[in-house]
């Protein structure tokens, strides 16, 4: 837990690669000291030892030294290359989400974070995660750029309108950690923060069951599919079937009209809901209407989860302790069709906790 009176030099290490970032930091501090001490000592010693004894003296001429120049060009270059390599290795770890990560969806908007778990729980400005599980966040924003930053996990990523960005982490220590928005986004940028709660698996399951705010995404997705949005009328099978079969389709290769083949991943499903005629499955007519403007991002997530559940082996976990099959989400082209809603730029703070003001320090 963050202690308010003691000022430590760095945040707690609470994720599996936090120590790597700290090691890199310490390495750089040591290099900095190793370079600074000689220079500072040299400057002091020379400035004192060679201070002027006679006004307007003329010291002996000294030309350069090729040897010295070469040495002190090569050594900094080599050192900087080690820094580059170390940084690249850690970065590679930070930005390659593992396949078996639990997925959580994040939508940023001015000025709050909306978070939805696969199992249905929604949170605003708070993220509950179990310790020791790999967690992958699939994120986007409804309006301006924001940035999802958890100092204790040593990771962050901008959220960009019109596309998905990702971060992943595996928490190692139960506790309560700051969440900040780290990309300036307007009026309440400083207030757009929250807390990440890392819990023991048991506590997390308790929290989940105690806090289910309605259905799991799969259930909600089924509800939307069958009842609310009418997808079933074309996709449910039987003589009326006019739409492509969805059972067993997730993550397989789909042949499209025109001969190309695409992988039916999350982006494909999302695109099919928002832009149906951009990718027509071979053998079907381009008659599916678009649902752009009729489904929210959260509902899209639920629909994607439901359709995933129609494929055996894909993520159907209602309990988070079962490893979820990660569907490789492709980082596809930008330009989503969801129009960013122009949010009200009122003076009121967004709903949800604002832990960054002194009165709201703890929850």
């Amino acid at each position: 837990m963050q202690d308010t009176s003691w000022v430590p030099l760095w945040p707690e290490q609470a994720s599996t690669f936090a120590w790597q970032v700290d090691v890199l930091y310490i390495y750089l501090i040591l290099i900095s000291i190793a370079f600074s001490i000689p220079i500072v000592v040299a400057v002091f010693v020379f400035a004192i030892k060679y201070r002027e004894t006679e006004k307007f003296a003329t010291p002996e001429e000294m030309h350069g030294s090729m040897v010295l120049e070469t040495v002190w060009s090569i050594i900094p270059f080599v050192v900087s290359m080690t820094i580059f390599l170390g940084g690249a290795i850690v970065y590679f770890n930070q930005f390659n989400p593992p396949d078996d990560a639990m997925e959580i969806y994040v939508v940023g908007k001015q000025w709050m974070w909306k978070i939805q778990h696969e199992t249905g729980q929604r949170e605003i400005n708070e993220l509950h995660v179990p310790v020791g599980r790999k967690i992958k966040l699939t994120m986007t924003t409804e309006d301006a750029l924001h940035d999802f930053f958890i100092p204790a996990f040593r990771t962050k990523a901008d959220v960009v309108p019109g596309r998905y960005t990702y971060i992943w982490f595996e928490p190692t220590k139960p506790g309560k950690y700051h969440l900040f928005c780290a990309e300036y986004c307007g009026l309440n940028h400083s207030g757009m923060g929250g807390w990440v709660y890392v819990m023991e698996q048991r506590d997390f399951d308790n929290w989940l069951s105690g806090n289910v705010s309605g259905q799991t995404p799969v259930e909600e997705g089924r509800d939307l599919f069958t009842n609310k949005l009418g997808c079933a009328s074309c996709h449910a099978g039987g003589p009326q079937q006019r739409g492509a079969k969805l059972e067993g389709v997730f993550n397989t290769d789909v042949k499209l009209v025109g001969g190309t083949t695409v992988k039916a991943d999350e982006q494909y499903i999302r695109n099919s809901i928002l832009n149906p005629t951009s990718q027509i499955v071979e053998g079907y007519q381009p008659i599916m209407p678009t649902f752009k403007g009729q489904v929210t991002e959260e509902q899209l997530n639920s629909l994607v989860a439901y359709i995933k559940s129609l494929t055996p082996g894909a993520s159907t976990a209602t309990s988070t302790s079962a490893p979820a099959t990660e569907a490789g989400t492709a980082n596809t082209a930008p330009a989503s069709t969801t129009a960013p809603r122009k949010t009200d730029r009122g003076k009121t703070a967004a709903p949800g906790s604002n832990p960054n003001t002194p009165n709201n320090g703890s929850r």
Binding site: G258, N275, P276, S278, P286, P289, A333, A335, T337
Partner: protein, 296 residues
């Protein structure tokens, strides 16, 4: 210490020598480097716009082709020839200045200015045409035509899907708010049918099962924005060039330039050629996209 070089107070000044220079050679070298540096900077300036063009053309080639097809390559081509010939007359101006022929200089400058003015006149024709057809990408800056003005065509237009507006077909121009209008998305359909849409296009043109005319229009609007900003900036440079030519005409008429002193003519020539070269790049990139679509 230093050998004395006396101030130039009692030294003969060549005409046109600025006080900070020792001699004409230094002055000429300086203004030459200065003008080249200025042109390099202008290249970086237009370069930003070419980068934006590059990014959006890669994303939405069909919209760009559609927009480009509606630019009249005849006028654009004519302007290209006009500018190339004006560069010739400009080069001849410099030549005649170098051989101290005052009358020919003046004639050449006037011809250059005439061609420059022709260029601007053609641009005015083109821009007016855009205004009349609702291609200016700002609401309110197009010709306003209230509905009912050409009733029998209107109904026909409204019921057709946007990709069935074939080329050259006349349809009524109704534009009560003077906004940007685009009804012909046949190229998007063609690309869809033959399956060469880019990823961005697959998302960007479609909604509700069909090509969305409004979304396609938005992308064509980006093309027209780039068209107007780039040609507008270029035309602004042309206007500055004409101003420069006016000054040059006046001073040449007064006989200031001859084989000893013709640097201002040469520098003006450099500027003029630069404006010409920018157009040489603009013309094909804006006017000649997707010409093969026009032939069916």
């Amino acid at each position: 210490m230093s050998a004395h070089t006396y101030s130039n107070k009692f030294v003969y000044h060549e005409p046109g020598l600025q006080h900070q220079f020792e001699d004409m050679g230094q002055q000429e070298e300086s203004v030459s480097i200065g003008m080249w540096m200025f042109l390099v900077q202008e290249i970086m300036f237009f370069g930003g716009l070419f980068t934006v063009y590059l990014v959006f053309r890669s994303k939405y080639p069909m919209a760009f082709a559609a927009g480009s097809n509606h630019l009249d390559a005849f006028w654009g081509g004519l302007n290209t020839i006009v500018l190339i010939v004006s560069s010739l007359t400009m080069a001849l101006t410099v030549y005649y200045a170098q051989i101290s022929k005052r009358n020919m200089q003046v004639i050449m400058i006037m011809l250059t200015m005439a061609f420059g003015a022709t260029f601007l006149g053609v641009k005015a024709i083109e821009y007016t045409d855009k205004y009349n057809h609702g291609f200016v990408p700002v609401t309110g800056w197009n010709k306003v035509v209230r509905p009912g003005a050409a009733a029998e065509h209107e109904e026909l237009a409204e019921n057709k899907p946007c990709y069935e507006h074939a080329h050259g077909e006349e349809h009524a121009y109704v534009n009560p708010r003077g906004e940007f209008q685009w009804t012909d998305c046949s190229l998007a359909k063609q690309a869809l049918d033959h399956n060469y849409l880019t990823n961005a296009e697959k998302i960007g043109y479609f909604s509700n099962g069909e090509i969305d005319a409004n979304k396609f229009r938005d992308k064509v609007r980006i093309f027209f924005w780039i068209y107007f900003v780039m040609t507008g900036l270029h035309a602004l440079h042309m206007v500055v060039g004409l101003g420069l030519m006016t000054w040059l005409l006046w001073t040449a008429f007064k006989g200031r330039y001859n084989m000893e002193y013709y640097m201002p003519v040469e520098m003006s020539g450099l500027y003029w050629h630069f404006v010409d070269i920018v157009w040489i790049f603009l013309f094909p990139l804006l006017y000649l996209l997707g010409r093969h679509f026009l032939h069916g």
